[in-house]
């Protein structure tokens, strides 16, 4: 279907002015809203992610593509009925206690949402208890911790221990990321995964939910 290809292309090119019109056209042609989302909008993001990972696309382009995705999804959501949007899984995410950085974390949220995940963003400066509470209430498959400072990265350890203390650790996979974070550190504190950037994070989450 040509219109789906056009939507895909508009997402990749970040055509925020055109995307709603194209999605409306697809709706008018009678295409299933889920198909428009998966093969059109997410199809576009599937092209963006590897290009971003390989350094051929850049942060502002990804943000514009994600804006297209959001505009399109907003039109389609009311048409999805009771079942709502199909999601790949639920992820709770936040920047760790004492750390106020959010640019990298927001980019990860954007990429995850654009790739079909439901993301609960707890924001910055999130205490271990708050993560634990969200895991208990939201029952996500994955919880993502971000830290940009060497002084706050040990809070990731604290958060994992807090999940253990509350008997929640087995219910959720813990993934971590941020400038000072390495795979060695992830192993040291017993995290289930580490990714070095937002597109690698999508791949990591895909591999976790597919293995479940």
């Amino acid at each position: 279907m040509a219109i789906l290809d056009e939507i895909k292309e508009a997402v990749v090119d970040g055509e925020t002015d055109e995307i709603e019109e194209l999605v409306q056209q697809a709706i008018d042609e009678g295409i299933d809203p889920n198909v428009i989302i998966n093969d059109g909008l997410i199809g576009g993001m599937d092209i963006v992610a590897p290009l971003f990972r390989d350094g051929e696309m850049f942060v502002p382009e990804v943000m514009e593509a994600a804006d297209c995705m959001k505009l399109g999804t907003a039109l389609l959501k009311p048409l999805l009925g009771d079942a709502g949007m199909e999601t790949k899984g639920k992820i709770v995410i936040g920047t760790i206690d004492g750390d106020l950085h959010d640019i990298g974390k927001n980019l990860v949220v954007l990429m995850l949402e654009s790739n079909g995940y439901e993301v609960i963003d707890l924001g910055i400066d999130v205490e271990a208890e708050t993560f634990a509470q969200a895991v208990e209430e939201q029952k996500p498959q994955i919880v993502g911790l971000s830290s940009m400072l060497t002084t706050t990265m040990m809070q990731m350890d604290t958060t994992i221990k807090c999940l253990e203390d509350k008997g929640l650790r087995d219910q959720v996979k813990v993934i971590i990321g941020g400038a000072p974070i390495t795979q060695e550190f992830a192993d040291e504190i017993g995290a289930d995964g580490f990714s070095k950037d937002a597109s690698a994070c999508v791949e990591l989450c895909d591999s976790i939910v597919n293995a479940a």
């Binding site: 942060v59 502002p60 943000m63 106020l100 640019i103 400072l149 400038a179 000072p180």
Partner: protein
Amino acid sequence: MLTIVGELINTSRKAVNEAVEARDESVIRELARKQADAGATYIDVNCGSRVHDELEIMEWLVNIVQDEVDTPICFDSPNHEALRRGLEVYKGTDSMINSISGEDGRYETIIPLVKEYNTKIVLLCMDSSGMPETADDRMKVVDALYAKLKADGIDDDRMFFDALVKPVSSITTAGLEVLNTNRRIKDKYPDTHQILGLSNISYGLPKRARLNRVFTVMTMTQGVDGYIIDPTNQKTMADIITATTLIGQDNYCKKYIKSNRKGFFDIDD
């Protein structure tokens, strides 16, 4: 007088961390020497990535650097214990601490060191309410910190405000807000200094060096007189020298002419 803090001795850089692991002094010595020769006025020492042995490594690095060069050291850590360890073994008289911010607790733990060792101090324009977005956000922190420092007897000349650079890739006006802040600090507190670690400006974009260099020159026009950079990057240093001349801080264009004679400008532009 421009302040150039050479940023290369940082254990979050792979080569430095490996040298630390192997206790290989020669790598650290060479980095200190290269930066001093390139015009660094302070040598930054940052081993914050060594979460388990930061104090011990700080002492080790400081001893090597001060043995190799006479250039003053910039002690770079949010951890006051690591700063103290470094300052205790330091033999020089001029030094800098990087950094204090308006965040809860940070000022109180670090200011005693600034006083005791009579250091210069880098002041990050952020507080516990979060990262600043606008120039107004930043000026609130600047005003609060300035008042506190004055009350603690710190002279304007020892204050180095860092306006906190964020990426233009995620916030379109991130550069503009910093430039506006620079001008306002310069107008309001003319005897203080301003310093920037500005490579964050280009995060997420191609050809980052281009953005970094142009932004460096733009901030100089707004009153910034210090940079935390890799001084061995000849292009950046050539830009800074040239800009110094153009903003009227190079009598008889002496620095510019001398730098040219020394071959500093013999690089591809």
